[in-house]
Symmetry: C3
Subunit: 341 residues, 3 copies
C-alpha cells in the first residue's frame, strides 16, 4: 500500500500554515535526524533544534519561531508534537483488513455482528455478543457471551474478553490482554482453606480507551469494574475487581489498582505505581514510578514513596544496612539534642 | 438462564437459620447498599452496619447479633461473608457450556478425553494428554503432550499448558496464563554468551487450585515445579522453575517466586511480594505488599521490607536524597554519642 | 520416544575425558541427589560435593579434582555445569513436531514458508510474512504481515507477533508473549485527552535470542526497537518502544526498559530491575533485583537502589515511619556536630 500525500493535503489535515509548495510529495514520516528525501519530520523537543540545519527531510513541522530560522519547506503549528501525532496515522503500516468474516471464525447464532465488521481466523464470538459497525477482531481472539463492542473497536490477536464486558466506541486492545477474568475474591473457609467468591459483576469500558498488551482488567465481585473515557493503559497493567479509573487517566507498564481502588480523572500512574485496595485518589494526581499509594489522596499533585537512590552496590549495601537502625537513630539523635544546652 | 430460588432453598444450602418466609423468591445477589427487590444481600464488615436500616434487599445474611436489630427477612450465620461466598455461585452469570467437542477442536488420537468434557472452538489437545470427567477447556486453549487434567478442571480461553503438566481436580486457570514454559536456565558458555539448559522437569499442581490471568508457572529444570492443594494465585504472578508453593497459600498480583524458592503452607504474599531464588519460607508467613524476602524465614509472622512512605514528591525528594548518606549519618551519630559525657 | 545413549557418545559430545566404560547406557539426566540407575548427574556447586559419596547415578560429570575423590564412572570437564547444559537437550521430553502444515493453519498466499516448517493447528500467517527453514510455530500463534523468522525459530502456542517484526535465526519465544504491539505513545491533545501516536517503527531481534512467557516487546514509534544477538529474556518482561538491548544481555522476570532506554552488551537485569525512559546504561552492568536506573550508567559494575531490609512488620513499621524525617535528621545531626568543640 503506497503512502503518498501532497504537502498541501497534510497542511489542510493539520490546519497548519504551509511554507513551501503544496504540490511537494510526502511518502514517509521520520525523526529530524533520520528523515530523508520525501519524508516529513517534526521538531518538538528544543534540545534537538540544532538538528534542523542538517536535516534532510522534505518538510518539517515547526513552531512559528522555529520556522523563522529555517529556510526549507515547513508546516507551522503551535504544537508540532501534537501535529506529528495527528499525522502519524497516515503513515501507519499496520494492515487494514477489509471487512468480512473469516471462514474459520465461530460466531454464535445469537450474536449480533454488523455487516462491515472484520473477524479474523479462529475468532470466537459467543452467544448474545454485540459487535457494532466498524469493529475489527483479529485472529484467535475470544469475545464472551453478551459482551458488547461499540463502534470501531479494534481487538488484536489472542485477546480474551469474558462475558458481560461492555465497551464504548473506539476501544483498542492489544494482544494477550484479558478483560473480565474473575477478580481475586475468596473467603477463608474456617478450615485453613478458601471458598471462592464467584465474580458476578462485569466490566464497563468507556469510549476512546487504549489497552496495551498482556494487561488484565478483572470483572467485579457484585457491581462492575469501571474504566472511564479516554483512558490510556500500557502493557502488564493490573486492574482489580471493582476498581474505577477516571476519564483521561494514563497508566504506564506494571501500574496496578488493587480491588475497589479508585483513581480520579486526568491522573498519571508511572511505571509500577499502584494503589492498594479500597483507597481513593482524587483527580489530577501523578504517582511517580514505583510509588505505592497506601492511603487516600485528596489534593491534586505529584506523589512519591520508596526511598531509593541508584548507587554502586557496595556503597548501597552499607546504607541499606542502616535501614533497620533508622528508628534507633532518630531516637538517639533526639536524646543528643536534649542534652545540648 | 433465569436464576430464581426460594429463601428456604438458600437457607438449607447455607445451613442458616431463616427468619422470614421460606417461599420468598430470590433472583439476585447484591451489596447491602445496592440490593433491590428480589435480591439477597449480606453484612460482613461492621462499618456498613448503618446501611442495614435503609436496605432494600429482599433478605439479608446476618450474624445473630445483627439480626436482633433487623426487622426484615434474614438468614443467620456465624460468618455471613463465608455464607455470601458459598451462595455466590448460584448467581454467577458465567455461561456453563454443555459438554461436547467443538468441530474445530484438534484432539490427538492418543489423547484420552472423557465423554462429558467440553472443548471449545480451536482447542488443541496433544498426544497422550488426559482430560478427566467434567473438564471444560475454552476456546483457543492448548494442552500439551502427556499433560493431565483431573476432574472438573476449567481452563479459560487462550491458556497455554505445555507438555507434562499434571494437575489435580477442580483446577481453574484464567485466560492468558502459561503453565510449563521453560524455566529461565542458562549456563555462561565461556565466550560471553549463554548455553540454554533444557528444562526437562514438569509442573505438578494439586487439587482446588485457582490461577488468575496472565500468570506463569515454569516447568522444572530437572525435577518438577510444585503447587500444593488449595493454592490461590492472582494475575501476573511468576513462579520460577523448581519453586514450591505449600497448601492453601495465597499469592496476589505480581507476586513472584524465583527459581527453587519454597514457600510453606497457609502463607500470604501480598501484591508484588517475592522470594529471591533458593530461599525457604516456613508456613504461616505473610509478606506485605512489595516485600522481597532475601533470606530464609523460619518463624511464622508478618514481614516487610522496603522503606517507603507516601509523600508529595518535593518533600519525598529531600528525604530520598539522604539515602546515600545513611551510613555516614549513623557513624556520625555514634561519634557524637561518644563525645557526650 | 526412548532416550538411550552410550557414555562414550556423551563423552564425545561434551569433549570430556571418560573414566568408565564407554558402553554404559544412559537413559536419563538428573541431580546428584535424585539420580538413579541409568542416569547421569553432575556436580557444579561445591556445597553439594558431600552428595557424591551417596550418589546412585550411573555416571557423574565432574572436574578433574573432584574425579580424583570419586570411584564411579565419570566424565571430566573444566566446567561441569556447562557440560550439563550442553547435554540437557538430549534428554528434553518436549515433543519435536514433524514438519508440515496443519490443515487448520491459515497461511496467506503471499507468505513465504519453507517446506520443512511446522505450523500447528490454527496458526495464522499473514501477507508477506517469511518463515525460513526449520521454523516451528505452535498452535494458535499469529505471525503478522511482512514479519520475518530466520532459520530454526521456535514459537510456542498463543504467541502474537505483529507486522514488520524481523528476527534472526534460532529465536525461541514462549507462550503468551507479544512482539510488536504499539509502544505507549500519546500526545496531550490540549483538551485534557490524548491523541494516539501511531507506532510506525518495527522490532528487530538478533540471532539466538530466547524470550520467556507473557513478555512484551513493543514496536518503535518511528525507528525500530532493537534486541541484540544472544539476549535472554525471562517471563513478564516489558521492553518499551525504541528501547535497545545489547548482545548477550540477560533480563530476569518483570525486568523492564521504558521507552528509548538503552542497555549495553553483557549486562544483567535481575528481577524487576528497570531503566527509566531515555537513559543509557553501558556494557557489563548488573542491576540487582528491583533496582531502578534513573540516570545514565557509564562505568561497568554492580548497581542497586531502594533501601530495603527484611524485618518483622512491626519493627519495619517503626523504621519506615522515619523515612519522612530523614532530611530533618540529617540537618539536625549536622547542627549538633557544629556545636561540638
Amino acid at each position: 500500500m503506497s503512502r503518498d500525500y501532497s504537502l498541501g493535503e497534510i497542511a489542510a489535515h493539520l490546519h497548519a500554515e504551509l511554507r513551501g509548495s503544496p504540490e511537494t510529495r510526502i511518502t514517509g514520516l521520520n525523526s529530524l535526524k533520520n528523515a530523508s528525501e520525501g519524508q516529513i519530520a517534526f521538531l518538538s523537543n528544543p534540545k534537538y533544534a540544532s538538528q534542523l540545519s542538517d536535516c534532510n527531510a522534505e518538510a518539517v513541522i515547526l513552531t512559528a519561531a522555529q520556522a523563522d530560522t529555517f529556510s526549507g519547506s515547513c508546516l507551522i503549528l503551535e504544537n508540532p508534537y501534537l501535529g506529528y501525532a495527528q499525522l502519524s496515522g497516515w503513515f501507519d503500516p499496520a494492515p487494514q483488513q477489509a471487512c468480512g468474516i473469516h471462514g474459520s471464525a465461530a460466531v454464535h447464532a445469537s450474536a449480533m455482528v454488523r455487516d462491515d465488521v472484520y473477524l479474523g481466523p479462529n475468532v470466537v464470538i459467543e452467544a448474545g455478543a454485540v459487535l457494532a459497525s466498524g469493529c475489527r477482531v483479529e485472529a484467535n481472539s475470544f469475545i464472551g457471551a453478551r459482551s458488547v463492542l461499540g463502534e470501531n473497536c479494534h481487538i488484536s490477536p489472542n485477546v480474551s474478553i469474558y462475558h458481560d464486558v461492555h465497551m464504548g466506541d473506539h476501544v483498542r486492545i492489544h494482544s494477550g490482554s484479558v478483560i473480565g477474568a474473575d477478580g481475586f475474591g475468596f473467603a477463608p473457609d474456617g478450615t485453613g482453606g478458601y471458598q471462592k467468591i464467584h465474580q458476578i459483576g462485569g466490566v464497563e469500558i468507556g469510549n476512546n480507551v487504549e489497552i496495551g498488551a498482556c494487561t488484565t482488567i478483572d470483572r467485579g465481585a457484585l457491581e462492575n469494574t469501571i474504566i472511564g473515557n479516554g483512558v490510556i493503559i500500557d502493557n502488564h497493567v493490573q486492574i482489580g475487581h471493582n476498581a474505577e479509573v477516571g476519564d483521561n487517566t494514563a497508566m504506564a507498564a506494571y501500574a496496578g489498582l488493587a480491588g475497589s481502588a479508585k483513581i480520579g480523572a486526568n491522573c498519571t500512574l508511572a511505571g509500577s505505581a499502584c494503589l492498594v485496595g479500597h483507597i481513593t485518589v482524587c483527580d489530577n494526581v501523578v504517582l511517580t514510578a514505583r510509588t505505592m499509594a497506601t492511603k487516600n489522596i485528596t489534593e491534586p499533585g505529584i506523589y512519591s514513596s520508596s526511598v531509593t537512590s541508584l548507587l554502586p552496590s557496595l556503597e548501597w549495601r552499607k546504607n541499606a544496612a542502616r535501614m533497620p537502625q533508622l528508628d534507633s537513630m532518630a531516637r538517639r539523635l533526639k536524646a543528643l539534642e536534649k542534652k545540648q544546652p
